[in-house]
Point group: C2
Chain length 305, copies 2
């Protein structure tokens, strides 16, 4: 009941609109295509080059937006690692079906061969959650969540909040990027990064530090052959997928950057987009659902017009 | 509030156990590994060869368990199509990232080249849901669902129920198999089948007929290159992935069958397994979640010992 009251408090207007839409779907309700077509330039934001990573493979580029608001120390450390070229020549070592892709130093367990860190940190204190700052924008979803009392979006990232504990945290949805760790909670730091490639593994929330999200190039990760070892690790060195380099976009010449824009998630247009996905009006759909969960909300990305 | 009462009604004992476990996690609580290790032969069931499909690719075999309790006409028709060799030589024509793999007759739009159906049906009335039969076993999940008032498992399949409307239906989770259709709701029939390879697309529930679930071989589908055309269709014929054959397991010589067993989902051991996933006790986990959603519950499959 408390959770229900919090919903009503945080979302009174949106819930009301939503209930009306669910009860009386109108053929004139927007579709995602119409929302995108009618969006204005101000509904989109460029990626900040200082908080964007380019992961370069032989197959192409994966673009990651970093989340310093949620994991400031991990983001700073991953950028420092990229800037000292720590990742260049490492490889994807693990692809576990319906779970994660992970890259790392394949020789990390061998003191003689392990890649040395120059200036960055090998490990950091965990950043599993942070103080709930009510001044941060938060577009709350109206249909609840199995795992958290409130879920929605803050600055383009999927977020859960718990007003009772005064905490907020990034959520494991498709494409989210985290810092692998060993059993000790402070044993991660960003030298090994994983990306969610399947059903949102929400049991990982607040158990491992998330620090960003793939905004382009997921298909270069999600379609890789699955590893046949325990936890999806590749069993043979030749199965690994080499990383040519990881660069902070700000360090890449402007002409070589991916000029992407992400839809702003604190806008009326993004709320229309959520509504267009809660009640699909495309001709194919027979029964609009009237509900949506966090992991099924797309965050549109486009090449800057 | 009605939904809440229904939960309590259907799950009183399990909820009580679960709340205790969530509030006071015990290091002695089972893990999935311990649940599996302690399971008895009677906790497992063999697949019924008459309701099992083998989809043969050059890369290996995908095993599908059919769900005649939920889609009797579609299951009968897909078996009839398999038995007249309709699928043999067709191909995967669509792989949409974080969504579905789909196979079909690539020439279906060409009257001269389209594969002809001999005895089976080209289309069937939709089987989006069925009457809620309280006599069917149902292992209810205790943590709710964003899309339906009750979710759980019936005979190894993920199921949603709505006591208010007296309906129950199969749910789109990872590995579920459905019958593609055009815009008309009765335009499917099983000639084109799709498999969910990403985040559970729950907005498809009750919009398209589900008829089975992949129990082995998902990695042969989920790791395929994504199609670059609209909706993930392959743009060039040579990108398609040929299907060698689809057979009803009963028609395959016993020595060539995959002797798989699936954990029975109506058992105390399966409830222990759910609990072991709601509160992970493995050493790596820092904060047991105390919650689980339908799509994150694994249904164990093993080779018959």
């Amino acid at each position: 009941m408390l959770a229900r009251l919090l919903w009503i408090f945080c979302l009174a207007v949106l819930i009301e609109d939503a209930v009306i839409a669910a009860d009386l779907p109108k053929p004139t309700d927007p579709t995602m295509a119409s929302v995108l077509a009618e969006s204005k330039p101000a509904d989109w934001r460029p990626l900040d080059p200082e908080n964007t990573l380019y992961v370069e493979f032989a197959s192409g580029r994966v673009v990651i937006e970093l989340a310093p608001v949620f994991a400031p120390r991990h983001v700073a450390n991953v950028k420092a690692l990229a800037r000292e070229h720590y990742f260049d020549g490492l490889a994807i070592v693990r692809v576990q079906d319906n779970y994660v892709v992970q890259w790392a130093d394949p020789e990390s367990e061998n003191p003689k061969l392990a890649r040395q860190i120059q200036h960055a940190q090998k490990t950091l204190p965990a950043e599993f959650d942070r103080v709930l700052d009510p001044k941060l924008p938060f577009t709350c979803l109206p249909d609840g969540d199995v795992y958290a009392s409130e879920v929605g979006f803050t600055d383009g990232f999927p977020v859960a909040r718990d007003p009772r504990t005064g905490k907020m945290w990034l959520v494991h949805t498709y494409g989210m990027v985290g810092a692998g760790r060993d059993n000790a909670i402070n044993s991660g730091g960003g030298t090994e990064l994983y990306v969610v490639i399947g059903q949102a593994p929400r049991h990982l929330d607040r158990n491992v530090t998330l620090l960003g999200r793939v905004v382009q190039g997921m298909e270069l990760l999600s379609a890789l052959p699955r590893g046949t070892g325990a936890l999806g690790f590749y069993e043979k060195p030749e199965q690994r997928v080499p990383i040519k380099s990881i660069r902070v976009a700000a360090d890449v010449p402007a002409a070589e950057r991916s000029n992407l824009e992400v839809m702003r998630t604190g806008t009326p247009v993004f709320q229309q987009l959520i509504e267009s996905r809660r009640n699909r009006r495309e001709e194919w759909f027979h029964t609009p659902t009237g509900r949506i969960e966090l992991s099924n909300v797309p965050i549109p990305v486009r090449i800057k017009p």
